[in-house]
Symmetry: C2
Subunit: 398 residues, 2 copies
Amino acid sequence: MKYGFSHRVRYMKSSAVRDILKVVNKGDVISFAGGMPDENLFPVDAIQGAFNKAITSGNKALQYGETEGVFELREQLADRMAKKGINRHPDNILVTSGSQQAIDLFARVMFNPGDIVLTENPTYLAAIQVFESYETNIVAVDSDDDGMIEEDLEEKIVRLKPKCIYVVPTYSNPGGKVWSLERRKTLLALAKKYHVVIFEDDPYGDIKFDKASSPPSIASMDDNKIVLYTSTFSKTVVPAMRIGWIVGPHQIIRIMAQAKQATDLHTNSISQHALIHLINDFDLDGHIQSLRNTYLERMHVMKDLLEQVKSDDLSYIVPKGGMFFWVNMPKFVNTGELLKTAVDEGVAFVPGAPFYVSNPQQNTMRLNFTNASPEQIKIGMERLVSVINANQYESVMQ
Amino acid sequence: MKYGFSHRVRYMKSSAVRDILKVVNKGDVISFAGGMPDENLFPVDAIQGAFNKAITSGNKALQYGETEGVFELREQLADRMAKKGINRHPDNILVTSGSQQAIDLFARVMFNPGDIVLTENPTYLAAIQVFESYETNIVAVDSDDDGMIEEDLEEKIVRLKPKCIYVVPTYSNPGGKVWSLERRKTLLALAKKYHVVIFEDDPYGDIKFDKASSPPSIASMDDNKIVLYTSTFSKTVVPAMRIGWIVGPHQIIRIMAQAKQATDLHTNSISQHALIHLINDFDLDGHIQSLRNTYLERMHVMKDLLEQVKSDDLSYIVPKGGMFFWVNMPKFVNTGELLKTAVDEGVAFVPGAPFYVSNPQQNTMRLNFTNASPEQIKIGMERLVSVINANQYESVMQ
């Protein structure tokens, strides 16, 4: 039988990353492809204790719950954000099934087909996926290492009248960038001037390597009028819980909660209650600090090996946080092609092209350094370096 | 600031049930409003054991997982469904964040604005909510106690060319009906004849009171061509886990999985792994049998008190399963108005009108008998009976 699907199905793509992960999980391939934390670093004992408390501390926790999220968790989130200068009432917070759902619910209540979204280029793959599924037009703003460039941003706001500007300003995925304070202020000022909502996606803000403080979030400079800010516990506690949150103007959050009601009623509340206990009983900030140290060390292992192939043609930024190296290869390289050879040699990465909104650069790749151990990173990078070198040799021979 | 929301926001409604629940949770009100199981009957020890195993049996369970759901759980679901005559491969199953998400994802991949969905009238409130949010036109098919009536169903299929027929044929919400075998066969035959997908929503099938077997599900009579079938563990284990599933033609399930990827990546996998252990280690079917016995007893307590107000003008079907009495009050009664008095007197129910797709009957109400204890049901129903009697007296005096 032929089924009549909705038009939006045409705009739905499977994530390149997740498709690669399916292949990579088989066999002896060392993967730098996913955006996954290292499961060996999960605080299993603390999680077990938290779930035990959640399950045995009264059966109400196992019953249907409020769509907005368990209030006590929202209070804790408000406290934690306040420490970072984002002062918001718990009523302005919606607990979501991962921050991915925050992006989806936002898109659901905001976008009509044809609406414009401005983004960086490259940007977070699964945000592109969501925006495209709502039939929006995604337009890239010219950016450099400090963030979006004012002139191009203003010109595009004025000309295109976007509904939203989506940014990952802190340890961006995939680029690993940190926006400067000045660029953050400029973005906020322009958004206010022209009444455009900013969606600040911050899954990696806690994974910082710099001793110096990173620039404040854009949300912390807003009076809760124009910035939606989302983050997650997937990178700092465990992904399997699927707990994220979003904070922003009450009017938008309220309507997103209504959309969530129809979508999945509410987020898994055993996990929400467990998280409440975890935050109360466990030194989560100490745990995050130890993750930073471990991931910083791994970043250095990867960097040391990348240096072997560094050249005028092969460049990367040394990340100040987050989970990724973003590598620009020589122009003639197609990393999609290179991946096949790499997987044969036992190493995987994500080709950069799918992260682009326009002008996909086929010579880019994203390398994750948090999921593999330092030993694996070393072996995997040696394999990758030899694949890169062989590729360069081949190209010279052609 | 004024925010520019999407058009679909206009079609999004908050659920009347959830809004009532918010009021009812305060104070000494006995509520027959929700569709909730009794939290005192939750198998807490077994759940605790299952979560402990899930959390300590390898950190992979705490990592990102497959969008389709943990394969072992899908195998168990296939086994459990096979026992009910629904023979499907695990690859045709998608694990969802509650069966609510199954409805939403289905709607997302199937419906364009203006598409027609045929339903019973009244039908499940939150399904109406979802279908309306995708700007479909929902059209009611004439039904009696045995299900949809063939002539009206065929006439509407031919004339309106619906994309889907949504039904809750077993212990329906809110009506408490069970479709006859004949009507199930007729629906399937017509759907096949005219190539219309059937969405069979079966959250209550396991809560059966009859010793005799209930008619087979519509899915069990299909060769996986035309029926999507969804169910949930919310009623039989705990709602807080938010685990449901949907099974159907591979082509549709595959595209729904793609939609889910963008929506929330995957369902909470700690809960999925816990459920695997629960199904392996715990006598879930024995637990379900004991729920049936307990809920049957409560249904009888409610029935005995309803009989005090039964008349030619006030009728109800004695449910053969599920969680609800559906009461038809005298024509002059507006149950929305009656609810205010009832809450003042310490008892709540859901007015029937929001469950209607068209021609809302203001004189109907839904009463849940699973959440309150027999003693509470008695007190609550005595309150409700006196509210109903006072209302009848008032109307006579007017």
